[in-house]
Symmetry: C3
Subunit: 452 residues, 3 copies
Amino acid sequence: MKTTFSHGNSCATDLIAQIDAYLKRLFPITRSITGNGNRETLRILQEIVPLQIKEYPSGTKAYDWVIPKEWNIRDAWIKDPQGKKIVDFKRSNLHVVSYSVPVHKKISLEELKEHLHYLEKQPDAIPYRTSYYKETWGFCLSYADYQKYFNQDGQYEVCIDSELKDGSLTIGELIIKGKSSKEFLISTYICHPSLANDNLSGMLLTALIGKKLLEQELNYTYRILFVPENIGAIVYLSKNENAMKRVFGGFVVTTVAGPGKYGYKSTYLGNHWIDRIVEKSFNDMGCEYQIYPFDIHGSDECRYSFPFFRIPVGTICKDKYYEYDYYHTSLDDLDFVQPENVLRSFDVYMRVLNSVDINVTYESLHPHCEPQLGKRGLYPLCGGHIRQKAALAKNALPQGFSNLDLILWLLFYCDGEKNLFEIAEKTALPLLELYRTAEELCKHTLLKKSID
Amino acid sequence: MKTTFSHGNSCATDLIAQIDAYLKRLFPITRSITGNGNRETLRILQEIVPLQIKEYPSGTKAYDWVIPKEWNIRDAWIKDPQGKKIVDFKRSNLHVVSYSVPVHKKISLEELKEHLHYLEKQPDAIPYRTSYYKETWGFCLSYADYQKYFNQDGQYEVCIDSELKDGSLTIGELIIKGKSSKEFLISTYICHPSLANDNLSGMLLTALIGKKLLEQELNYTYRILFVPENIGAIVYLSKNENAMKRVFGGFVVTTVAGPGKYGYKSTYLGNHWIDRIVEKSFNDMGCEYQIYPFDIHGSDECRYSFPFFRIPVGTICKDKYYEYDYYHTSLDDLDFVQPENVLRSFDVYMRVLNSVDINVTYESLHPHCEPQLGKRGLYPLCGGHIRQKAALAKNALPQGFSNLDLILWLLFYCDGEKNLFEIAEKTALPLLELYRTAEELCKHTLLKKSID
Amino acid sequence: MKTTFSHGNSCATDLIAQIDAYLKRLFPITRSITGNGNRETLRILQEIVPLQIKEYPSGTKAYDWVIPKEWNIRDAWIKDPQGKKIVDFKRSNLHVVSYSVPVHKKISLEELKEHLHYLEKQPDAIPYRTSYYKETWGFCLSYADYQKYFNQDGQYEVCIDSELKDGSLTIGELIIKGKSSKEFLISTYICHPSLANDNLSGMLLTALIGKKLLEQELNYTYRILFVPENIGAIVYLSKNENAMKRVFGGFVVTTVAGPGKYGYKSTYLGNHWIDRIVEKSFNDMGCEYQIYPFDIHGSDECRYSFPFFRIPVGTICKDKYYEYDYYHTSLDDLDFVQPENVLRSFDVYMRVLNSVDINVTYESLHPHCEPQLGKRGLYPLCGGHIRQKAALAKNALPQGFSNLDLILWLLFYCDGEKNLFEIAEKTALPLLELYRTAEELCKHTLLKKSID
């Protein structure tokens, strides 16, 4: 089945159906930091957005790192001494430690136990484990199964039909040109297997965002990345160092569709205007949310913020990673993640991104004094009326404001330094109205957009 | 009658009488953004201060603006169908929309109504209206008169005996040289006809301030301007661009003598030391007051703060414009404005300006260590006493401080960067005492005034 | 008796006994801004630390000051008209105004009274008085004695067997080299005679600190000074101007062993990281303390902070000067000061100094991205676990943190700009653990110490 995501022409019900179809197609694929599962995932996402797929060979150096061999897996199981399959990769790809080397032998229970991972406190959940940089193998299973099946004498037979060989690491990239060469980054990661919130939800939402941005006229240029976490971001940074220096901010999109409340992990600066736009958007939309200060533990926002790059990157989540009980277990599935929540988070992200995109800087072409608005039809011609009785208190909502207010504040503050969001904060005027008015004033050659 | 304002030699009662006489002479004059009324006003103010009167011809370009034709008016009236004068410019110059073109004809009530301005909510007040940049004519009248007289059939006769022709725009300027080439601006506007608080009070107070400053030995240079609002300030800026770049701050003097409380419209920076000196002065004088944040709606402070100039300019008011019911109506008259209030505001402004003037910067001539005060007779010679038991807490009033305190703190903080008001804030020592001591220390060649 | 201060090998009881012995040997010596008493004091302190003793001749210019003649005194007394000694220098060296010129004559009571100093409000205390820069003589005595003995007719005989002649001013200096050429200053004053808290306690504690620092491997270089207050610091600054420009901060050690609570006089900056480290140390140690804002009245911290030097210098006290009733009187004796309190303040100062010393700056050698920790054995090799569930809130104590936390935050923040204490404040990780980890990361060539 090939779903077509069409936004704008469909009602919400259609959208939800389309999202649901994509969730169901993408969920079962075995993804890792390399491998065919990642390629298949990106090919499906290409139905939504025209991603360019880039391959970086194993062995490529990237700063302190080297791209490892490519890993693929066909099957894996454990049979008990009676030959009964008691763990089966075909039922859940979480059963195998990601990047497990191939193995097929009979071993004692004692030896096998060193290769088993389970969670005593969540007896029905299969944990998610990886071993990218140390060659080993292992199985993950529920503690319930562990107790039920792993108590017999005799030899157990283990089989992991995987291969680790020179191949490549796969990255999806979409660059949407805006008027400015200044770039905004939207990055998601594609390396997790069947985990729905972390991060099937994020990669699907990123594709939907890309599709929407492609339909819009944009001020900034958007660099949208689908990378395997950590190594993928590092490889991308190393191969695009100059381009990444043009990026002034960004988001890492992850864990966006759980049933719980919104969370925002701040940029490393904590009070950048990106952070303030996110909080303002949450408040304007009436979302309940929690702010998480920047933490070095997290996802690729840490890479993008490293000393050489220092890009302020935030993350809007719905059931943030680390914070929900099902995190990195088989319970993070399509019962936990609902398509309605993908759509809700899409709306939040688009509201934020639309605010980011119009937060540009203008310079007055009349810096010496207010230009004569009357001769341009922008000013009431009979004078003497009170222009505005109530002074604008900082951060107080203006109790009614006029086009004239917007025009005069813009002409006063636009000096090529302050951006529109800062002017909105100073004047308590709405960003969107300031933007619309500023664009009008550009047409009257009263302002000039300082976009580069 | 020619009044002589003499301050210092007169008691308050005499002063009030003089102010009262000036208010009564200046009130009836028909002022506008150009015209003979402005010239007559400035000539009367020249009795108080030696203003230089400058004329700028109609048609002169000033940034985006052009000086309009000069407007003068001799008479205006409306007669009802019976030939009875029902509106008469001779009774109030507010009856005519300022800059009305000449007209003399009979017209129907219906047509006439398009040229009538009144305030339904203030039925006894004549509103103040202008039309500087669109050629039209109009009458202003009370709603009571409107209801009483404008209900007959037949032709009404209207006459406005005005003229609009090439002439000039008139500005009064007084530059008072201080020791420094750094300038402080005091600007008022002279374009309003018979409105007492807005702004007869301001222009008279500005003249009184100028007279007082002329009697003082000053650190800074004062640039005192009497301009028609908006166009006058713009013309002046365009003709004095370099000089205005030497201006580090200022006040626009307007609406200073109402019966209500004091108000302060902050500079666009909001927390400049000028703002802090005004608040400190209000508090020290025990004035009740209200702070109004900077607003793009207002008077010429907006012009002086435009991006190219960015001069922080505040405004101290007594019954601030926009905030009192009689604003821009015939009720803003000499019942509303009393000479006592002009004198009160004079005291407030002089206290503030005297603080501004002594807020200079000194540089220690002994930056390496405290000079030996004893050999200069500035230090108690028998040691071992407690110099000061109570440490000075920031912003706490010192409970008794000595000359030695003043000397030591000045020698410590005067580094050519911090101004005296900042040192007063850091030490909680009074600005005036710091200044007197600093001047003494200059005589001992311990400090040097960094005035340029 | 020669005491040997040995720390580390002795238990607290031994230490206290040693401190007690030094207090008793040093207390009776007559010190002033010059003289043999200062030399004897420094010689005794040399038993603890290898001070270099420097002599600066009388008449030497130091900025605005000149080193005065050297003052020494053998004896002094007053006899009543019956020839009975009623004031005797041998019983307390406070009885003579410091720097009194020699005198031996009989004078009337009336004339004598002009040379007597006492405290009516503290009738049993002899005050401490000096007259360094005005040639005079005087006696200090209790008000009780004044009332008892100075009421007879007849001639009183006064004798001050002192001498004022060209000699030198004596300073003790100890420079302890660390890895960095950046210096930290520890200064105390040695000019007070038999006053125990002010400042026998401070000079002894400074020697103990010096001894301890000599045993440690240090990052910074420590410049430890024993100077006569004011003139000594000024002379030292003038002779070591370039060296003092390398000093980034310091402490003046004074009044550290009273029975009351701790006090901290802030540096002139008020919120320098030195100030914040002191407050953090007080809090970590559970000390009750009071913060005194910087005051121009005080000790040599004022000299070191003068405009040319602007070194932030604080002072940790126990019963701060000015604040206790016995200040500058004979009641500030060895009943008031106990050796246990010297030891307590030693612990506080060492804790603070050890924090200062490890507050260095590192620069990441991998600024582009997190280096691969796994291949260096610094990272758990099986992934997928929650790295850290609880995000670190600013200033909140981390509830358990791992080596990995320390490593990752250091690699992220060490950019050659932020020092470790700032990183500790941002991450709420303990400074000492950050330092130990940073040093480990230097060994792995992941960080580089930016020490110069």
